[in-house]
């Protein structure tokens, strides 16, 4: 099992399957808040659902109202289990706090390379680590 050190932005310890976006994600216009489905046609995850996954991405981009989309995901019960980014930015910090979704960043390696879609992950904010169980 591999372990990655992280910084905790929003607390919570969860276990789940990774969904990895290799490119920056725009929550506004790129994710449907009602269904949790990725609607950005330029993203390789186009058509996939974030719901109950641990969503891994390098950083966010696009409009700051993306925070409201993240909040909407949780209100509509289609939120991801946790969020992991290389770099936390205001859009996702605000969204994850409003929605109370565990969120970690500033990893000691590039998360979108070290974590693969389908990997089993444990996000543990009590120890500020992610554990990767390779499938």
């Amino acid at each position: 099992m591999k372990t990655i050190k992280v910084r905790t932005i929003v607390e919570g310890t969860v276990e789940g399957i990774a969904l990895v976006s290799p490119i920056p994600i725009s929550f506004f216009g790129g994710v449907d808040a009602e269904t949790g489905i990725i609607t950005d046609s330029e993203n390789p995850l186009f058509g996939e659902s974030l719901t109950d996954k641990i969503f891994v991405f390098p950083r966010s981009k696009g409009s700051t109202v993306g925070s409201y989309v993240i909040y909407g995901l949780s209100v509509n019960n289609v939120a991801p289990l946790a969020l992991i980014a290389d770099k936390a930015e205001t859009i996702v910090i605000a969204g994850a706090i409003l929605a109370n979704i565990p969120f970690v960043d500033r990893t000691d390696q590039d998360v979108t390379i070290s974590i693969k879609t389908g990997d089993k992950l444990i996000v543990d904010t009590t120890q500020n680590i992610i554990k990767i169980k390779k499938e």
Binding site: T64, S67, Y68, A94, I97, L98
Partner: protein, 399 residues
């Protein structure tokens, strides 16, 4: 982060769940950016108003806030909406959009936010004071507040400006700190810049080249608010530049520390021409002219009137000017408007070409004097835009 007793109480939920969440949000954004304390803000300018830019998710958020009946604690103003709140049908806005837009405005209003619906609150009496800490979010308003007025604000998002408006604090980082307001690049402006569109071209050119870096402009002869707002808006659009200095004109320029300058660049006639050429996309018929990005002032309206003179806008071409409702109530403007409407010029309030859905959807070939507008209107690749000075535009579309 150090919190006062009162701030700690807000974070601990003594003022309700919504206040705790919003305080948490501001504290975390601060921590991630290295802030060690929260500072009080004087006022807030809140983006995230047009239904086009916020969509359905905003309503879930409003529900959370209204459960705790939260109100803003400092004077707060709204950014433009997706339509003129009175003349929306005339713009071609659909009923469904209008209904959602009205609901959004009403929700903000219930929180005590003034429905100014403008990106230029400083043109309607809300001028920031030197040294004031603010939480403003529209990118051109942010840059004007910092540069022209010497107030201090980061480029907030819609959610963070609203959170700060409610709790009354922002985190002390970025442009709130003097050491982060120093210029890194000197721009020697050799090219002649007379028209508003020239200021816009200069801003666009700089922002594209030096993303996010504070410049110090020299050799600019005149820099009034209408000129500076075009410069700042374009720079924020092309390069997220949130602050700048102009020698002899902006309030921090004289005393600012110039020891961090790493480069001097020149903006000459060929640089200016290159920006105009980039946005010279219309070879065929023009459908629409859009003026007012940022929102037009009294001076802008006067200039349109004097440039048009006795001429009228040609049949088949629409000429739209965007401003605020408040400005349109000005007696001098009212008089000009009656005259301008007869000549084919329409003035819409509360909205603009960037945040209203109808401009992009219904008009293919667009002329403007704003590089910021040109940037946003061409981003999706469905519209063609030419950037021209107001006098060139009027010459092309009037008879």
């Amino acid at each position: 982060m150090f919190l006062t007793k009162e701030q700690q109480k807000m974070l601990d939920g003594e003022h309700g769940h919504a206040i705790a969440k919003l305080t948490h949000l501001i504290v975390k954004i601060g921590e991630v950016n290295g802030a060690t304390r929260l500072i009080p803000i004087k006022n807030a300018q809140i983006a995230g108003v047009s239904y086009l830019t916020v969509g359905e998710p905003i309503f879930s958020f409003f529900n959370m806030l209204s459960e705790d009946n939260v109100k803003v604690s400092v004077p707060s103003w709204l950014n433009p909406a997706g339509m003129d709140m009175k003349k929306w049908k005339e713009m071609g806005i659909k009923n469904d959009f209008a209904e959602k837009q009205r609901r959004i405005i009403q929700q903000y209003q219930e929180m005590g936010i003034q429905t100014t619906l403008t990106c230029t609150p400083y043109l309607i009496g809300h001028k920031p004071k030197f040294g004031d800490h603010l939480a403003w979010s529209e990118s051109s308003a942010v840059s004007i507040a910092n540069a022209y007025y010497g107030a201090r604000t980061n480029r907030e998002g819609g959610p963070s400006s609203l959170a700060s408006a409610i709790i009354g604090f922002t985190a002390d980082y970025g442009l709130h700190k003097k050491e982060n307001r120093v210029p890194r690049i000197v721009v020697d402006v050799e090219a002649t810049i007379n028209h508003f569109s020239d200021f816009s071209a200069l801003g666009y050119w700089y922002g594209e080249k030096f993303h996010g870096i504070i410049p110090y402009f020299k050799s600019i002869k005149s820099a009034n608010i209408d000129q500076v707002k075009m410069l700042g808006a374009a720079m924020a659009a092309s390069g997220s530049v949130a602050h700048f200095h102009i020698a002899k004109h902006t309030p921090e320029a004289e005393k600012v520390d110039l020891s961090h300058i790493s480069e001097t660049v020149t903006f000459d006639e060929s640089d200016k021409k290159q920006i105009y050429n980039h946005f010279n996309q219309i070879k065929e018929r023009v459908n629409l002219v859009v003026i007012g990005c940022p929102h037009s002032s009294l001076e802008d309206v006067k200039l349109i009137d004097s440039s048009l003179g006795d001429k009228s806008i040609k049949e088949g071409i629409k000429f739209w000017v965007f401003s605020s409702q408040k400005l349109m109530q000005n007696d001098e403007v009212k008089k000009l408007l009656t005259n301008l409407e007869e000549k084919g010029v329409k003035i819409f309030a509360d909205t603009c070409m960037v945040v209203s859905p109808v401009v992009r959807e219904n008009y293919k070939n667009i002329l403007t004097n704003s590089a910021k507008a040109a940037f946003y209107l061409t981003r999706e690749g469905t519209n063609k835009v030419s950037l021209l000075s107001l006098s060139e535009i009027i010459e092309r579309v009037s008879e």
